[in-house]
């Protein structure tokens, strides 16, 4: 099913604020009904990202607890990271696993592709289920080692109740994997 809507016309777009990480763009839009609006959006790197749900065996999920500046707290979630220049999503997923949890995977299965807040970002993230793990580590760019946390997928409800497991993409990834494994 596709949209019946006709895209608004972009009359002008300009960079209005910029930092090391973020570039904010203003769009001057005319909607198909004639309404005019100014919108703001983030200009992304366009590189894409990956999130990996690693399973040590048929039951055991591996997660990381990592410092999050947005909330100034440690949050629990699945390993993730940006795809580097020239990398495939699969290669990036296996690299991030080795950097963040010191495992590689012989069996990466793409589960889905998510987007973060498309109203403001153009940020795609491929979700992988990773099985057949082997020990292997690569140096990452984290300021401190990430805390590794194991959780039984049978108790996914308990994981959903954790006060620090709240990230929308991690919750989506967990529930998609639970649904996939339920068959």
């Amino acid at each position: 099913m596709t949209s019946k809507n006709q895209l608004p016309k972009i009359n002008a777009q300009k960079l209005i604020a910029k930092s090391q990480l973020f570039s904010i763009e203003q769009l001057d839009l005319t909607f198909s009904n004639g309404e005019k609006r100014l919108y703001e959006r983030m200009v992304g790197s366009g590189r894409g990202a990956v999130m990996i749900v690693p399973m040590l065996d048929d039951e055991t999920l591996l997660l990381v607890r990592e410092y999050c500046a947005g909330t100034h707290s440690y949050m629990l979630g699945f390993p993730k990271g940006l795809i580097d220049e020239g990398e495939s999503a699969e290669v990036a997923a296996n690299r991030e696993l080795q950097e963040e949890i010191a495992y590689g995977s012989n069996k990466l299965t793409k589960v889905s592709q998510l987007m973060m807040a498309p109203a403001f970002f153009n940020a795609k993230m491929d979700i992988f289920l990773a099985g057949d793990l082997y020990k292997s580590s690569l140096p990452g760019d984290e300021p401190e080692p990430l805390e590794l946390v194991t959780w039984s997928i049978k108790d996914y409800q308990g994981l959903l109740q954790q006060a620090d497991f709240k990230e929308a993409r991690s919750i989506a990834a967990l529930m998609l994997v639970v649904d996939k494994l339920r068959g």
Copy 2:
């Protein structure tokens, strides 16, 4: 289970870029292992947001297709919006329903609370399941009427396959509701 980690110390924080919608802050951090880093994060309104999964009957999900500037495309998702000053999350949810799909709900059940990318944002969103709907509309601030889309929850897999149903928070909300109704 709580974190074993000791929070990094914030040595300094300053506003480094600002637009109408976004404020970007730089944090000068020292991690508990002595590592020093500069991080960037978005300063939010702190108002919180709601997303509502409205069901017309035991089977029928209601969604909206809306213009998203981040991707310059129309995307399918559940009604959502910011909580206004002085509003409870429930009141905001019922207002957004009336603004976006012209229904109110006599039965709002909180399903979960999600966060968007806590590495960069402090953005909480309460997810509600809305039943016992009644026709009622309120004027919203949308530039054009939102396209209303119905979908059978029995075919949630088909919804997940839609190229424009990709928003992480909408996918998380769908899967949490599917899981809740499955019992």
